[in-house]
C-alpha cells in the first residue's frame, strides 16, 4: 500500500512538471504565437475576437506571468486548451478527441500484439535453445527490426495495397463518416490491418530478443533446477517459473512503448494517411499551430505518465518483492 501511495505522489509531481513545462516552453520560444496568429488572420477578424483568442491561449498581455499560469491551469482543468489554428474554429480538445481513438486503435493494437507475439516467441526460442526455431527466429526478426520503417511501409503499401489490392491505400475507414459501431468493425479492421502489420513486423524483433535473453538468464537460476527436480510438468516450469520471472524486466520497456502509443507512429500515419495523433501533430507543426502542438504534447506527456503508472500497478501484482519496499 505504501508503495502505491508513493507512486501516486510521484506521478502527481511528474504530471505537474509536465503541465508546467508545457506552459513555460512556448513562452521561451523566440517570437510569439500570438503574432503569428495575428498575421494569419489580419483583417479577417475583429480586435475583440483577437483579444478573446489571446485570453483563450492564456497569452493575455495585461496579466503577469503568474496570473497567466494560474488561469492556464484553470482552463486546463476545465479541458480548455485553446483553439486550433489549422482546424479553426475547432477547439484543440475536440481535434485531439477526434484523432485519439484512431491512434489508440492502430498503434495500441499493434504495440500490444507485437509485445505478446515477441514475448511468446522469445520464451519458445530460449526454452528450445539451439533448436530450429531458435536458429531461425532471432535472426529473421533482427533483420526485420533493422528495416528502415518508412521504406518498409511504402513497400508494403505498394505491393499489398496498390499492386495486389488486398488492402485499402490509406485512411482509417470507408466513406466520409467514422463510426465505431459494431457493424462497422470489419471495415475498420480492413483499414487497420496493413499499417498494424508493418508496425508489428518491424518491432517484434526487439521484444523477442530481450525476452529470449531474460529467459536464458532466468533458466540458469537454482529455482528452475528445483522446479525440474520436482518433476513438474514442462509447461509449468516454462511459464510459472521461467517466463514469469523473465518478463519482469521487460515490463518497463512495455510501459514506455504503451505511453508512446499516443504520440502515434508518425511515419505510419503519414504513409497510410491515417487520421491519428501523429498526423495531427504533423499538421500542427506545418501550420505553426501552437495551441494544437501544445495540446498534443501535453496529451503525450500525460499518456506516458499514465501508462507508466498502470504498469507500476501491474508490477505490484507480478512481483511480490516490490510490495513491501
Amino acid at each position: 500500500m505504501r508503495y502505491i501511495v508513493r507512486k501516486v505522489m510521484f506521478y502527481g509531481v511528474a504530471l505537474w512538471a509536465a503541465v508546467t513545462l508545457n506552459f513555460v516552453l512556448p513562452r521561451m520560444m523566440p517570437g510569439n504565437p500570438a503574432e503569428i496568429l495575428l498575421a494569419r488572420f489580419k483583417g479577417r477578424v475583429n480586435p475583440a475576437a483577437i483579444h478573446a483568442f489571446l485570453i483563450a491561449f492564456g497569452l493575455n498581455v495585461h496579466q503577469t506571468l503568474f496570473q497567466q499560469y494560474v488561469s492556464y491551469l484553470g482552463q486546463l482543468v476545465r479541458g480548455n486548451m485553446g483553439i486550433s489554428i489549422t482546424y479553426y474554429p475547432e477547439p484543440v480538445s475536440q481535434v485531439l478527441a477526434q484523432a485519439l481513438p484512431w491512434t489508440l486503435l492502430l498503434i495500441g493494437a499493434a504495440t500490444i500484439i507485437s509485445f505478446i507475439l515477441g514475448t511468446l516467441a522469445g520464451i519458445v526460442s530460449a526454452w528450445h535453445r539451439g533448436g530450429w526455431f531458435d536458429s531461425v527466429a532471432p535472426g529473421v526478426f533482427t533483420l526485420t527490426s533493422s528495416f528502415p520503417y518508412f521504406w518498409f511501409a511504402l513497400l508494403a503499401l505498394y505491393f499489398f495495397a496498390y499492386r495486389a489490392g488486398w488492402f485499402p491505400l490509406g485512411e482509417a475507414y470507408s466513406g466520409t463518416r467514422a463510426s465505431f459501431a459494431i457493424s462497422n468493425w470489419p471495415d475498420l479492421l480492413y483499414h487497420t490491418a496493413l499499417p498494424a502489420f508493418t508496425i508489428v513486423f518491424t518491432s517484434i524483433g526487439g521484444w523477442l530478443l530481450s525476452m529470449r535473453n531474460n529467459m536464458i538468464t532466468t533458466m540458469g537460476q537454482d529455482y528452475i533446477l528445483m522446479a525440474r527436480a520436482k518433476g513438474l510438468p514442462r509447461r509449468r516450469v516454462m511459464y510459472q517459473y521461467a517466463a514469469r520471472n523473465a518478463i519482469l524486466p521487460n515490463m518497463t520497456g512495455f510501459a514506455l512503448s504503451l505511453g508512446f502509443i499516443v504520440s502515434g507512429a508518425l511515419l505510419t500515419e503519414i504513409v497510410f494517411s491515417y487520421p491519428g495523433l501523429g498526423y495531427t501533430l504533423l499538421q500542427a507543426v506545418q501550420n505553426e499551430d501552437y495551441p494544437l502542438m501544445q495540446g498534443t504534447l501535453l496529451l503525450i506527456a500525460v499518456a506516458v505518465l499514465f501508462a507508466n503508472f498502470v504498469v507500476d500497478l501491474l508490477y505490484v501484482r507480478l512481483d511480490p518483492r516490490v510490495r513491501n519496499e
Binding site: Q221, L225, R228, G231, L232, R244, D319
Partner: protein
Amino acid sequence: MSQQELLTVEGLSVTYYGPPDVEAVHEASFDVRRGEIFGLAGESGCGKTTLIAALTRLLPDNGAVTAGRIMFAGADWLKLPPSEVDAWRWRKISLVSQSAMNSLNPVISVGEQIVDAILAHQPQTSKREAWDRARALLRMVEVDPKHVHSYAHELSGGMRQRAMIAMALALEPDLVVMDEPTTALDVVVQAQIIHQVRTLQEQLGFSVIFVTHDMSLLLSIADRIAIMYAGEIVEVGSRERLNREAAHPYTRGLIESFPSVFERKSRVGIPGAPPSMVTPPPGCRFHLRCPARLTMCDTVVPEERVLDAAGHRVRCHLYDSVEAIGQNGRN
C-alpha cells in the same frame, strides 16, 4: 543388490563436453542404504555437485554419463525414460539444493511451490488438502504455517532452508539429496537444521545423501562417508571408522584441517591445490599433494581395496598389500 541398499552406483563417469571436454566424475562407486545418512565430502570443484546432478538426472545439456550404472529402488535408473523419471521425482528422490536463497521461485508463494509438487504427482488431491499438507509440512520443520502465503524474500535464510526441506519431504521420498544445505547459514542455524534433519530422518526413515565440504559436520551426523578427490571417490567408510583411523592420506588431511574445540593442536591442512580436471595427473590423482607418496604413485593408478567386512574401501597404493577382507592394511 541386497534389500538393504536403496541406491547402488557402479563405476559412474560423467563428462562435460567442451571444448575442452572435462571428465568431472571418474568411475565412482558407492551404495546408499535405506534409512541412513550418507555423507559425501570433498573440496570445491572435486565433482560432488556433478555426481549429485547425475544421481538426480539433472545434468546440464552438455554433461553426460559416459560409463557405469545406477540402480535405484530396484530400477536401472539411468535407463528409465524421461517421462518415468519425472513421475519418480519427488515421490522417490527429492533435492535440497545448494542455496536456499535462490532455490525458491521469488514470484510465487512458498505454499504454492509445495502445493504444485503435490498436485503434479498426486493429481487426485484436492487443492484444499494440498494446502493443508503444505501447512503441516511447514509445522513439521518448525516454521509457522502462516508462512505458506509468504514469498521467499520475506523469510530469513534459515526459514527458507527449512521450507526447502519441508518441500523435499512433501511426498515422503525414499531418498533426499542435500547438496550443501547449510553452507550459507550461520553456525547456530546450521546446528538447528542439522538436528532437525536427523530427527525427521529417524522419524520418517528416508535415506539422505548429504553433500558438504565440511568434514566436521559429516563426522557428527553421517552414518557412512565417501570422500571425493579430483573426480574420484578415494575412500568410503563408516563415520566411526573414518573418525578413528581414516585410511587415505587425503581423508586424514581433511579431518586434520578443521579446528578442534577441545585440543590445542596446530592445524595441518593439505598443501597445494586440487589438480586441473581437464588433464588429471597420471597415477594417483592425489600424488602431487600427498605426504605419504611412494614412487609408484606418480605413474600407477591405484586399485580400490576393501579393508574390512563393513565395506571400508580405499583407493591408495599404501594398501596394495591388503588382499583379504578383514585385515587392517596399514603398514
